[in-house]
């Protein structure tokens, strides 16, 4: 069963719930701890394992691929900007440490400022490269479509 949560380490913070792309990490309402509600839908992407601030989640791979006796654990350290893996092989002899950078500059500092970029020229909009794009991308009807230009409003309570 792919990911499982060690209940003594989990504090129910919900980071894994937020990050799971399959929405299968939920919080059990009685014990207030996270758990994988649908292990057979888990694709072992390790997002929850990396996101957990207490390293409470581990992965038990499927028996045909990862027979018992091994250990694969990962520690993602955002502030240092690195991710570290430790892989212990089931022969009891090989114990690998791997460390790799996950960012080269502080988080959020590399976001491009699209406002400062020039708008697409008419030639770019008319070019053949946009032939198969929908009319919104080709700006056939004028400028870019926004909620405001269509007279719509974001409903209160919708979290982005």
């Amino acid at each position: 069963m792919p990911t499982f949560v060690r209940m003594t380490r989990c504090d129910g913070c919900g980071h894994c719930v937020d990050i799971c792309p399959s929405d299968i990490m939920h919080i059990d309402t009685t014990t207030r701890r996270a758990y994988n509600i649908e292990p057979n839908m888990c694709w072992e992407c390790y997002s929850c394992v990396k996101a957990c601030p207490h390293n409470a989640i581990d992965v038990r791979g499927y028996a045909d691929f990862a027979p018992l006796g091994h250990s694969v654990r990962v520690k993602r350290d955002e502030e240092k900007g690195v991710i570290a893996w430790r892989i212990k092989f089931r022969n009891g002899e090989k114990d690998m440490d791997l460390l790799a950078p996950i960012t080269t500059k502080p988080w959020g500092s590399g976001t491009p400022k699209l406002k400062d970029e020039p708008a697409p020229t008419q030639d770019q909009r008319d070019s053949q490269l946009l032939y198969s794009e929908p009319k919104y991308i080709r700006f056939d009807e004028g400028d870019i479509h926004t909620l405001k230009s269509n007279g719509l409003r974001m409903k209160k309570g919708v979290e982005l």
Partner: protein, 282 residues
């Protein structure tokens, strides 16, 4: 402030009050033992420590273990350092110390100063009320705003969650009825004060009697888990997690050349990414 139990001793003998306190202690002990047997916690902790020893890189002697135990008490127990969220930590500290002060002063008042000729020192009665107030402050703050159902899952404060809420509701009702009883008894309202006292006793019986079903026993499990975590980090097994690498260490640079190549010899603190905001989107 006075000892509210002194006035009650006219209706209920101090012997019965003391027997009740002893019974509550026994219920806590019994409930915790049953809970541990049901959850097989002892087996789990034992297996965990065996696994840690198997993967240990260095031995942690008795003296070092004692040091870690003291550290666990000083940090995780006394200051609730396990909480990363400040509000939760503060609320827990208020509730925890309020509960401890309330329970200890209750026991002292009932065993030493009720039914005997010595009047309780004003400080003790004052502390009893302060304990109950702290418990109420931390508890109600938690109930209305911090409880995860309310903070993240859109549940309203007046919607209950069954077993999950048993502990906090037991605590809150015990402390609230205790305070109300004390106030109304001091005002001399007779039967109404008796009713509040009865509700106080019912709440406290529910609180201490439901240890097997509620989260009460966390106060024993959590320090044990925290201690075990510290030992696992100290003996090198680290629960099979990788070590904490110092990114400016030249040895780390030679082992992992990607780090100095892409991040430089002394990478700065990169700030928070996904951990920057509280998870609230579920």
């Amino acid at each position: 402030m006075n000892n509210p139990f002194a006035e009650m001793s006219a209706y209920i003998s101090p012997g019965i009050m003391q027997a009740y306190v002893v019974l509550m202690i026994l219920l806590v002990v019994g409930g915790t033992v049953l809970d541990m047997m049901h959850k097989q916690s002892a087996k789990f902790f034992f297996e965990n420590s065996k696994q840690a020893k198997a993967g240990a890189k260095n031995k942690v002697g008795g003296g070092k273990k004692a040091g870690l135990a003291i550290k666990t008490v000083a940090n995780e127990v006394l200051t609730s350092s396990e909480f990363c969220n400040t509000r939760r930590r503060q609320s827990h500290l208020l509730t925890m110390y309020g509960f401890i002060i309330f329970v200890v002063t209750t026991a002292v008042l009932i065993f030493k100063y009720t039914g005997s000729d010595t009047a309780a020192p004003g400080l003790l009665g004052f502390l009893w009320h302060i304990g109950a107030l702290m418990l109420c402050a931390g508890g109600y703050w938690f109930w209305f705003s911090i409880r995860v159902d309310v903070a993240s899952e859109g549940v309203k404060w007046n919607q209950f969650n069954g077993r999950g809420d048993l502990f906090i509701l037991g605590l809150l009702s015990t402390a609230t009825f205790a305070l109300l009883w004390s106030v109304f008894q001091a005002m001399g309202t007779g039967a109404f004060a008796m009713l509040l006292f009865a509700l106080f006793i019912v709440s406290s019986t529910v609180l201490f009697g439901s240890v097997y079903w509620s989260k009460f026993a966390h106060m024993f499990f959590k320090p044990a888990a925290a201690f075990q975590k510290k030992v696992a980090m100290a003996d090198g097994s680290r629960e099979n997690l990788p070590e904490d690498f110092d990114l400016s260490d030249p040895e780390v640079h030679s082992r992992f050349p990607d780090v100095p190549e892409y991040m430089g010899k002394n990478p700065p603190n990169m700030g928070l990414g996904i951990k920057a905001e509280q998870p609230r989107h579920y």
